[in-house]
């Protein structure tokens, strides 16, 4: 079973649209893991049925029991996040500021503070319209994505793929360069980097690739909106050559992408020249990953 992870440092490069396209091309051979949980979008293209919801717990928030609190002020003294609010002598915890470090609970002489595990959202194992399954999550506002949630989503996707004897787990990775991205990358058989032929795209690609380099995983790159700027395109090519990153596809700037999404379709279900490029690209990825 192979794990193909798709990431891009920058938003708006088309990562999610392209991942969804590969899900369609892969059809029943592919189990999808949507690890881009902060404002997840894949469901808009793959129409999951949100079945098997399971609550997801992460992090803790302190809660003060008013019956036990003696207003000794110790919690206020140790809190580094200004999360202890005092109003008319009444002590309470500001949920937005509390980091869940547990320090206040440890020093409270009356054990009036408990750390409550937070239900930050749900994860699902849905049927999607390609006939296969997608594991995805929905986080509450203000909840942080984490390595844990990404790991959970990927793990469940792998389990599902093993149970159903599917060859490929396709992972829509997290943006940025933090913990969730590292978690998205761990265990990957191949990494697809999606970028765009703009200065911002090049800049963010280099930044995220520094992270990818730390793991020894084969990588390939898709350059979207490739014809926006020749100079940047050339620089992108130099970078890819220098770093030995496979060139998977170049896709011209085409509003067909948006037209397709607006109708809830991926670009490979739309009449355009991009369809063929992505079909070839998918075939290349499978070949480089060693899928039959």
């Amino acid at each position: 079973m192979k794990e193909i992870v798709i990431i891009s440092g920058k938003g708006g490069t088309g990562k999610t649209s392209i991942t969804a396209s590969f899900a369609v091309l892969g059809g029943e051979d592919v189990v999808v893991a949507d690890c881009d949980v902060d404002a997840a979008d894949m469901h808009l293209l793959l129409d999951p049925d949100f079945s098997d919801p399971e609550p997801f717990f992460s992090g803790e928030l302190a809660v003060i029991d008013q019956d036990l609190c003696i207003a000794c002020n110790k919690c206020f003294e140790v809190c580094r996040y200004d999360a202890v609010k005092i109003e008319d002598g009444r002590y309470s915890i500001d949920e937005i500021s509390c980091e869940g470090c547990g320090y206040c609970a440890r020093v409270c002489p009356d054990e009036a503070i408990t750390n409550v595990e937070q239900n930050v959202g749900n994860w699902y194992r849905s049927e999607i319209r390609t006939g296969s399954k997608m594991v995805h999550a929905r986080l509450r506002i203000g909840a942080d994505n984490s390595g844990k949630l990404v790991a959970k989503v990927k793990n469940e996707a792998r389990k599902t793929a093993t149970e159903m004897e599917k060859e490929i787990v396709l992972v829509d990775g997290s943006p940025g360069i933090g913990c969730p991205v590292v978690s998205s990358l761990s265990g990957a058989s191949f990494v697809v980097l999606v970028t765009e032929s703009t200065i911002s795209g090049l800049h963010d690609l280099k930044r995220v690739y520094e992270l990818v380099k730390k793991f020894d995983i084969k990588a390939g790159c898709i350059i979207n909106k490739a014809d926006l700027n020749e100079d940047v395109l050339r620089e992108l090519h130099s970078f890819l050559d220098r770093e030995n990153i496979a060139k998977l596809a170049e896709i011209p700037y085409d509003e067909a992408f948006t037209a397709a999404i607006t109708k809830g379709k991926t670009i490979v279900e739309w009449d355009s020249s991009i369809k063929e490029r992505l079909e070839n690209c998918w075939a290349t990825i499978k070949q480089l990953t060693g899928v039959n």
Binding site: K10, G12, D38, V78, G102, D144, E196, T198, N229, T258
Partner: protein
């Protein structure tokens, strides 16, 4: 006055709007532009200036003193973030996981974990005419954006008077970093695009700013493609949609090179002017 430019979804045009808006306004008055997308700060690609000041930004993390340590293991026991490990004959600290709560340090029986500053990012302050541009960049390997965003906002609060307009280019999404960047703003401008992704993520962003009880308004970028879902949503919700920036390949090409758009595209200049006027007519902006 602090104006945060945010969006649920990445790639909708926050940075494009923030940089163009700030540069336009700086033609006639002092303006501060801050790039708070510290994981991938991009504004500096579009706004140039002379480097006025730079400083390394630190967070406090515990440093192990092997000589006085009694190997009690208390540090690991009190850390909720797995940031400190008590091994057989050493204590290891993982700086990126540390949230700086000081528990291990202050509860150590032998005082063997004094808190010391560790670099986690860099703040740069550029000047271009009446525009002060502040960019903060998180070091690769650092995972927590919030402390750097907070310190950047502190730098701005200390360095500039209250009445100067400050445009804050926020990170995308709806999690902690965005909350930190927008929670003290006087006005939040949400940028989105007229597609199902844009609408879906706008709703999440709206929920976020409503929870923070922030005044907000919407700017619709790439107007002309997609559908009218966002417009209908704003109408139904009574949300003020103050400007639409048209979609065009020409704009995308200008953006691709790192140039500002409003000097070259009249439609964009018009939209930016409307937004600037909205800000300047705001009670806090006067």
């Amino acid at each position: 006055m602090k104006v945060a430019i945010a969006s649920g979804k990445g790639g909708t045009g926050k940075t494009t709007l923030a940089t163009n808006l700030a540069s336009y306004m700086a033609e006639t008055r002092p303006v501060v532009l801050a790039d708070l997308d510290v994981e991938e700060p991009n504004s500096g690609l579009f706004v140039q200036g002379d480097l006025f000041h730079r400083e390394t930004k630190y967070k406090m993390i515990p440093e192990w003193n092997s000589k006085t340590c009694s190997h009690s293991g208390n540090c690991q026991a009190v850390c909720n973030f797995n940031a400190i490990l008590s091994l057989a004959d050493s204590v290891m600290v993982f700086p990126e996981l540390c949230h700086g709560c000081y528990a291990c340090s202050e509860l150590c029986p032998t005082n063997s974990l004094p808190m010391k500053p560790k670099p986690m990012g860099e703040l740069k302050h550029f000047q271009a005419g009446d525009l002060d541009f502040i960019e903060s960049r998180l070091m690769i390997g650092e995972e927590q954006a919030v402390p750097l965003i907070k310190q950047t906002l502190d730098y701005i609060a200390e360095g500039f008077p209250l009445d100067i307009v400050k445009i804050l280019d926020s990170p995308p999404g709806t999690s902690c970093p965005v909350i930190e960047a927008t929670k003290d703003a006087d006005l939040v401008i949400l940028v989105t695009e007229p597609t199902p992704f844009g609408l879906h993520d706008l709703k999440l962003a709206v929920e976020t700013v409503r929870q923070l009880d922030k005044e907000f308004t919407v700017v619709l970028n790439r107007f002309g493609i997609g559908d009218d879902g966002v417009i209908r949503y704003c109408e139904n919700e009574g949300i003020n949609l103050i400007a639409c920036i048209p979609n065009s390949r020409a704009i995308a090409e200008i953006y691709a090179t790192g140039r500002l758009i409003y000097p070259e595209v009249p439609d964009v200049k018009r939209a930016v002017k409307v937004i600037a006027d909205f800000i300047l007519n705001h009670p806090k902006g006067r």
